[in-house]
């Protein structure tokens, strides 16, 4: 999977797009690309501009500056209907007065001859909705509605598909299964998929690549693993998972920090800011290797637990097996078990 996305040519390119709404800069010089067959997540806190970017690519908003290319063709000057880009909205936007089959057939009207000749049957089979052709949208579950929306979007024969918060309207219990199913369908289509989410777990598990947005700008783009383990800055590190920020003095491959000597992901020297994930800190009985700490509080999470430990004035989060017998107020030793990410320095 990683290989595909690294070698495939970028075919949807967003170059230097900016957008203002009155005094508010919604997007500031955003550039990113989508490769053939790739699922690319746009993630960021609400108001970061990710949905605006999606609407600019789809053609429902105009960019103030910059360009969008699909293949060799510049599309940001085209009307939405002329772009060849499909979009699945958060609320699916199914046509309530049409049946499942009619909803899909609606999108076939301007599709190529081969698709029109094939009709709705293969599309509904692809999303496993055969048998529900004559149902109306309000007679379907949320997951089924989403698959109708997907089949309908495929029907028009787009070259890329945009998904706006695709799973936010589903029950938490269904979300994980649905996500796997939809991912398989999307992957099988071979199309480029750009999707917006604010759920980090969704972005990490669903996407081939992730772009993290903040205040209308791209903070970092990369593979999920790279972003999680090698965040470019404190925002990305904190947004994609809980983490501990440490100040330290580096001297090459390691640094002196409040929790002792920590190895670094890249050589540095002088004062540095480091990010160390909770699972990268080990907890051990008092007197073991590491620095002494006091357990301030515990959060039980089922398969594991978080211990918040105090070292001097600072508090750190440590992930540990839930079965470990640790009590608040207990004295322990903590030490880094993996290298820390150098954020600044």
């Amino acid at each position: 999977m990683t290989d595909i996305t690294n070698t495939a040519a970028p075919f949807l390119r967003i170059d230097g797009v900016s957008k203002r709404f009155g005094d508010v800069a919604a997007l500031r010089d955003v550039s990113l690309d989508l490769r053939e067959g790739e699922i690319h997540a746009l993630i960021g806190p609400s108001g970061c501009g990710k949905s605006t970017l999606l609407r600019i690519v789809a053609g429902f908003e105009g960019a103030d500056e910059g360009a969008v290319h699909l293949g060799e063709r510049r599309i940001d000057t085209l009307k939405p209907e002329a772009r060849g880009i499909g979009i699945v909205f958060q609320d699916y936007a199914l046509f309530p007065h049409l049946t499942v089959a009619q909803n899909v057939a609606f999108a076939l009207k301007y599709a190529d001859d081969a698709r029109r000749a094939a009709g709705t049957a293969p599309l509904l089979r692809m999303v496993r909705l055969d048998g529900l052709e004559s149902r109306y949208p309000d007679e379907l579950s949320g997951g089924q509605q989403q698959r109708v929306a997907l089949a309908r979007t495929f029907a028009a024969g787009p070259r890329a598909i945009l998904l706006d918060e695709p799973f936010s309207n589903l029950d938490a219990s269904l979300r994980e299964t649905t996500r796997r199913e939809i991912r398989d369908i999307l992957k099988a289509s071979g199309l480029g998929i750009l999707f917006v989410t604010h759920d980090r777990e969704e972005a990490l598990s669903f996407a081939d690549r992730i772009s993290v947005l903040r205040d209308g700008g791209v903070e970092q783009t990369g593979l999920p693993k790279d972003l999680y383990f090698r965040p470019a800055n404190a925002f990305v590190a904190g947004f994609l998972g809980s983490t501990n920020f440490l100040d330290g003095i580096a001297d090459g491959a390691s640094a002196e920090t409040p929790i002792g000597r920590v190895s670094l992901d890249r050589p540095a020297s002088g004062p540095v800011q480091l990010s160390l994930r909770p699972e990268a800190i080990g907890i051990a009985p008092e007197g073991s290797d590491g620095v002494p700490a006091i357990v301030a509080s515990l959060v039980f999470k089922g398969h594991d637990a978080s211990a918040f430990v105090r070292v001097g004035e600072a508090t750190f989060e440590v992930l540990m097996p839930a079965s470990l017998d640790v009590q608040p107020g207990q004295c322990v030793s903590v030490a880094a078990r993996a290298s820390a990410v150098v954020l600044k320095g």
Binding site: K79, F95, Y110, R152
Partner: protein, 509 residues
């Protein structure tokens, strides 16, 4: 955008001509014309009537609403429906029923030998208006009571208030906005009514406008009276807005609302049912009884041949007016929901303004506008249809606007992404989803226009007649049996709109 602006503008232009006409009065004559004792008398009468109607409708509707929402009174659904039905009875029909009940030849004397004086004046007018406008207060109060979060009253109880104190300190203040908006609707109805008040021979601003224009030919005086009536209506609008401003009564919690606990009536059950029965008897029983009585009394004397032509007369105005109102309402609602801005909001408000303007000033303004700008249209069916459509377009804007907000722009955007152009997307996606609301809006306008009296009286071409005009003029002439078939038809027509309202209330999730 353009059709919406035109529609909004058409609402205002006639009113400008009202001002133009009024200001044509010589300044020296102004005092002599306007400042007569008659002006003061009709103004005070108007205010007295509004006050009486508000008091009477509240006295009927508030207890009824409390009974069906807060107590275990039986047959709640039936009481609710019966308390909504009087909306179907036009004011002049209600007045006809009250007048037809008494009198030497009336049913009371015929059956019970009971002779009551003919109801008239302030009492008669207030009674007739209250008996058909109280449902507005009832429905508003009922909705407000049902919408109230019981946790509010429960919190007050847990903070040491008695159930009575909790009702007074928590529930009543929350009912205030709904009561005020219901009062506004009823007050505007009262200001706009002409038929019931004229039949009750009570002199108010609206009847003075009509008589000064149509009988005394003091057109400039009529224009001044119309402006005064407008000013009172505007004052009510501003007052309601001011009294409701800055109130923080929105529900802040996010939990699921529970249904309201009810009070057991115990031995008060029968008096309560008796009250409800009395209200229904007066508001529905009397009109039904009186119409049936007069229909049976002299069926041979009624000019039955005239009936189909009169129905046709009503249809020839109501159908095109409904179509035109919808043609105005859809673009207005569309621009207001899709491109919300100060301008589009203003345009939408304008249609409500046209609805709130009392009928006779509106009709008079239309006359002045027609005479000054398009004299060829004066006294034609066309200008009557246009005026009625503008006056009632707000009724069609409402449902269309609500539906457009429900549909939202996403479905159209979806269609665009499948290759549909903007107009094609609107036609194939939004319009079909809108059709039921457009039809509902058209029916509301149709019924409203079919019932309408003052504008029709003032603008109708000579010789043209409708069912509403017949009920009014026959009753006016004391030919109660002649009016009966038209009164019956009017109620049948209006019942459709109430049935629609009840259905939409039931369909609401």
């Amino acid at each position: 955008m353009l059709p919406a602006i035109v529609a909004g503008g058409m609402m205002l232009i006639p009113l400008v001509y009202l001002v133009v006409r009024a200001s044509a009065t010589e300044r020296t004559e102004l005092a002599a014309i306007v400042l007569r004792p008659f002006t003061l008398e009709v103004t005070l009468n108007t205010l007295a009537l509004v006050g009486s109607v508000l008091a009477l409708t509240t006295a009927i509707a508030l207890p009824l609403a409390l009974l069906v929402t807060r107590t275990d009174i039986p047959a709640k659904r039936a009481i609710t429906i019966l308390a909504t039905l009087p909306l179907a009875i036009p004011g002049y029909v209600m007045a006809y029923a009250l007048i037809g009940l008494s009198g030497y030849y009336g049913p009371l004397n015929a059956f019970f030998g009971l002779r009551l004086p003919r109801p008239e004046g302030l009492f008669g007018a207030a009674l007739a208006l209250s008996l058909y406008t109280f449902p507005y207060v009832f429905l508003n109060m009922r909705a407000a009571l049902l919408g109230l979060d019981p946790a509010l009253e429960e919190s007050a109880r847990s903070l040491g208030r008695s159930s009575r104190a909790a009702f007074l300190s928590v529930t009543l203040p929350h009912l205030r906005p709904a009561l005020l908006s219901a009062w506004l609707v009823v007050a505007l109805y009262t200001l706009g009514d002409y038929g019931a008040i004229a039949l009750m021979r009570y002199d108010v601003l609206s009847s003075a406008i009509f008589s000064q224009y149509a009988n005394a030919f003091e057109v400039n005086y009529a224009a001044w009276l119309a402006l005064m009536l407008l000013a009172i209506a505007a004052a009510f609008l501003v007052l309601e807005g001011a009294l409701n401003r800055g109130r923080r009564l929105a529900r802040t919690g996010t939990g699921t609302r529970r249904s309201i606990p009810v009070v057991a009536l115990g031995r008060w059950r029968w008096p309560a049912l008796g009250f409800a029965a009395l209200v229904h008897l007066a508001s529905l029983g009397v009109p039904a009884l009186v119409i049936a009585f007069w229909l049976s009394r002299a069926p041979a004397d009624v000019d039955w041949a005239k009936v189909p032509a009169t129905v046709l007369g009503t249809l020839s105005v109501a159908l095109p007016a409904a179509a035109l109102a919808v043609a105005i309402a859809v673009p207005v609602a569309l621009v207001a929901t899709r491109w919300p801005s100060r301008l589009t909001y203003g345009i939408e408000r304008m249609t409500y303004f046209g609805y709130a303007v009392p009928a006779l000033p509106f009709a008079l303004a239309t006359v002045f506008f027609t005479l000054a700008v398009v004299p060829a249209l004066y006294q034609t069916l066309a200008i009557l249809v246009i005026a009625l459509a503008l006056h009632s377009a707000a009724l069609a804007v409402g449902p269309v606007r609500v539906r457009l907000l429900q549909i939202g722009p996403r479905v159209e955007e979806s269609a665009r992404s499948f290759g549909y152009s903007a107009p094609a997307a609107f036609r194939s996606v939004t319009l079909p989803a809108l059709s039921r609301s457009v039809l509902a809006g058209a029916i509301f306008v149709f019924i409203m226009v079919a019932k309408e009296l003052p504008i029709t009286l003032l603008l109708a071409p000579s010789g043209f007649t409708t069912m509403a005009m017949n009920v009014f003029s026959r009753t006016h002439e004391g030919m109660l049996y002649e009016a009966a078939p038209y009164a019956a038809l009017m109620i049948a027509f209006s019942a459709i709109s109430v049935a629609l309202m009840l259905r939409s209330e039931r369909d609401r999730p």
